[in-house]
């Protein structure tokens, strides 16, 4: 019975993926991608990976969805009609890819069966005596802290690279037409405090159960975008406070690395009396940086206001992106 459900779920994912890839319009492709994300949340839950499920909902679907929806709604040139290419020319490579994927899947299934006992590393990690009790957080911020440091560096680098394409390396010149419909503003007034509450919850919860800085950061980005797009730009750093907010996570992580080296003698070694507090403090800074970074990536796709000639060709009124985090 469960096997049948698995196969049905897998088939649904496959259909959603193919539909996403072959959607005639980019806009419908984005919507189908969001559906795919929802189905994947079920898959992660089924595989017993609640942390990944939460991250999928908050980041992979939530933040990526916000990015894609924003890109689609603000698009100036209409999408190149892809329909002409959709006949055999487009289906043939996809068919070949599906066949190759099935072959690869076969190899993977066999490798999983005669593997060296899957989860050996996982068992070690569960038994590891970390400073926090949730094993996934232990792996991320203690056992493999260097990975997470480099990952924050990737996010920081991507945001800096995006900001580099704007005047002065900030978003101060980006036009953000405010949507001031009363219903929307009322919603924002209700939603933002709730989202912030949730951010705090995820942050604290991460040390003992699924959740953590990344999910919290994605929610914070959602709140920031809601504010920025409903006329409360003053509450969101877009000008000269943006670069510091973006790099503060990486700076905090580097400070932790340097501090542990100087005080404990080992890079990134966390010890019990202060380790849990250090992890929480680090996560709090990371939340700010991730929130600022993700929000900046969404807003950075918008063009700068032109300086000289005020000739905006169809530049006006991109619809407000109502990507409320759920």
């Amino acid at each position: 019975m469960t096997a049948l459900l698995d196969v049905l779920l897998a088939a649904a994912v496959l259909v959603a993926a193919v539909a996403t890839l072959l959607a005639p319009r980019a806009g419908s492709g984005v919507l189908l991608f969001l559906v795919l994300g929802l189905l994947l949340v079920l898959v992660w839950a089924r595989l017993g990976a609640p942390d990944v499920a939460l991250a999928e909902a908050a980041i992979a679907s939530g933040a990526t969805g916000a990015l894609l929806v924003s890109a689609v709604t603000g698009r100036r040139p209409p999408a190149e009609p892809d329909r002409a290419r959709r006949s055999w020319a487009a289906l043939l490579p996809l068919g070949a890819a599906a066949a190759a994927g099935a072959l690869l899947g076969g190899v993977l299934v066999r490798a999983r069966r005669d593997g060296a006992g899957p989860g050996r590393l996982g068992d070690l990690a569960r038994e590891a005596d970390g400073v926090v009790s949730h094993p996934v957080t232990t792996v991320l911020l203690d056992l493999r802290a260097l990975d997470t440091l480099l990952e924050i560096a990737v996010l920081t680098a991507a945001v800096l690279a995006a900001l580099a394409l704007h005047r002065d390396g900030t978003l101060a010149a980006v036009a953000l037409p405010a949507d001031t419909r009363p219903v929307l503003r009322g919603f924002v007034h209700l939603a933002v405090p709730l989202v912030l509450l949730l951010v705090g919850w995820f942050l604290v919860a991460g040390s003992s159960r699924p959740g953590g800085a990344f999910q919290a950061g994605a929610l914070l980005a959602g709140a920031a975008l809601l504010l920025a797009l409903t006329g409360r730009r003053d509450l969101v750093p877009t000008g000269r406070w943006l670069p510091p907010a973006v790099v503060v996570g990486l700076a905090g992580f580097l400070a932790l690395a340097g501090g542990t080296r100087l005080l404990a003698g080992t890079w990134l070694a966390l010890a019990p009396p202060w380790g849990a507090a250090a992890v929480l403090a680090l996560e709090a800074v990371l939340v700010v940086a991730i929130g600022a970074g993700l929000a900046a990536l969404v807003l950075a796709a918008r063009p700068d206001r032109r300086v000289a000639a005020p000739t905006p060709p169809a530049d006006a009124a991109p619809a407000p992106d109502r990507q409320a985090p759920r």
């Binding site: 490798a111 899957p118 590891a128 802290a145 990737v154 680098a157 800096l160 690279a161 580097l254």
Partner: protein, 484 residues
């Protein structure tokens, strides 16, 4: 030991944070670059003395923690990177217009940190994250080149990330079969079979794409043509090498694959010849230099099929000796190409400024107006073509010797024809540059003195290290699998 492994990663990241928010970019950037050179020299000395450096951050030993390991190859490429970055930043300070604006500083430092993390990582997943860091930094740098650079930057990003996904599936497969992410621990645990073949195929495709192995190289010449002058050397001399180092390490640790070796032999030879021919046919200087990178990556990829017998203890002695020679030669060539190509791109960018146009035909008369820059171009080009006594010659000669010893005559032919093509491309540029100035009276922009020296230093190093390169060979063999 862990200090020498982690400081070269964390210091540039700290520098990136500082240059992103503070106004003293030059001071911070040059200080970090100088410190990196110090670390790199110390690491080379330590590796030559004690063998591969090891460490594990947080005190968690592998397999649970992340294994850091710096072998001779990593230390050598680290030294190359430190020298090139210092020269590039020196050039950027002397000619700020060549650098792509204030954002170039943090992005350069992030890219350097990514490369260093690739070099010191003995953990497959950390390698994936480090490769992404390097890629994102490099894409950001390319995009600084303005409107024409955006599409190539986007293409590069898409293709490189797709390559990362392939690599990541390979990593997952290694973990499933061996229960570890540490390359050294996985090395002995993966028996020959479809799993090993799939791992190597995925990793080779993924890393080959990131290292611009033809036929997936189309974005590279466009990116170089539009990228700021100081970005091209970083991209061609360093970023491409990072992926190649991972590929070489993975192949030698896991024992290679005969069938894939044939595919790589074809692709590598094709890249050498096709890149060489296309370089000759370019009208624009930076595209010419960029296509020569496509050819050079071909040589480096030939390393894998040529060195295969060295990974097999059962292979006959003659074949093993030849394979080892080819292995050493190709890695010397990797270092030579890094130095020479960085010098070439800096010189080419400067020449474009002097000539007032980026067509090869515009170069007429530049030899009288900027003799040092043309000299730099010539010297670096000679190293690339493999003329004695350069490091390029030492490497190519050893590679040839290896190919002859192991009877790989096809490789001998490819190496000789490829060298001829590179030499012709350089000669063509020099021939135009030496022509009399068509309009001597015209007002010209000069080259600031500080912008000449970094490139010339790199070119001189590319030639000079060819004399007495025995220490380099010793270094490259430290902790390498073929050395046993």
């Amino acid at each position: 030991m862990a200090d020498l492994l982690l400081l070269p990663v964390l210091l540039p990241l700290a520098g990136a944070v500082a240059t992103a928010v503070l106004p003293w970019r030059r001071t911070v950037g040059l200080t970090v670059a100088a410190a990196q050179l110090g670390f790199a020299v110390a690491a080379v000395v330590a590796v030559l003395r004690d063998g591969p450096l090891r460490g594990s951050p947080g005190g968690w030993e592998p397999p649970l923690g992340i294994a850091l390991r710096l072998d001779g190859l990593g230390a050598a490429v680290g030294l190359l990177a430190a020298v090139v970055v210092l020269a590039v930043l020196g050039h950027a300070v002397a000619r700020p217009a060549a650098a792509g604006g204030p954002s170039a500083w943090p992005l350069t430092l992030v890219t350097v940190a990514g490369l260093q993390a690739v070099l010191v990582s003995g953990d497959l997943f950390t390698t994936y994250v480090a490769l992404e860091l390097m890629t994102v930094g490099a894409v950001g740098l390319v995009a600084l080149g303005g409107r024409r650079a955006l599409a190539p930057a986007l293409r590069y990003l898409c293709v490189a990330v797709l390559g990362s996904f392939a690599f990541l599936v390979a990593v997952a497969l290694v973990h499933a079969r061996t229960g570890t992410l540490t390359l050294e621990l996985a090395a002995g645990a993966l028996p020959p079979g479809p799993a090993l073949g799939t791992v190597l195929a995925l990793a080779t495709v993924g890393l080959g794409v990131k290292a611009v192995l033809a036929p997936l190289h189309a974005w590279l010449p466009d990116a170089h043509a539009a990228a700021p002058t100081t970005v091209s050397p970083l991209l061609s001399a360093l970023v491409v090498k990072g992926s190649l180092v991972v590929l070489v390490r993975l192949w030698s640790a896991l024992g290679g694959h005969a069938g894939l070796a044939v595919v790589l032999a074809v692709l590598g030879s094709g890249a050498v010849l096709w890149g060489g021919v296309l370089a000759l046919r370019q009208d624009r200087l930076k595209r010419l230099v960029a296509y020569s990178t496509v050819a050079q990556v071909g040589y480096l990829v030939l390393l894998l099929p040529l060195a295969l017998p060295a990974l097999d203890p059962a292979a006959p002695d003659g074949a093993r000796t030849g394979a080892l020679l080819a292995w050493e030669g190709a890695l010397l060539l990797l270092l030579a190409h890094g130095l020479a190509k960085a010098a070439l791109f800096l010189a080419a960018g400067t020449l474009v400024g002097v000539a007032g146009g980026d067509r090869v035909a515009d170069l007429a008369g530049t030899a009288t107006r900027a003799p040092m820059v043309v000299l730099t171009f010539g010297v670096a080009g000679a190293c690339l073509a493999g003329l004695p006594p350069s490091l390029g010659f030492t490497g190519k000669w050893r590679m040839l010797e290896g190919a002859v010893t192991s009877g790989a005559w096809w490789a001998v032919a490819v190496l000789l024809v490829g060298g001829l093509l590179t030499a012709s491309a350089t000669a063509r540029v020099l021939g135009v540059a030496l022509r009399p100035d068509p309009d001597p009276a015209a007002a010209r922009r000069g080259v600031p003195a500080g912008a000449r020296w970094p490139a010339l230093t790199l070119a001189v190093l590319a030639v000079g290290t060819g004399v007495g390169s025995a220490w380099l060979v010793d270094l490259l063999l430290v902790g390498a699998v073929p050395a046993g």
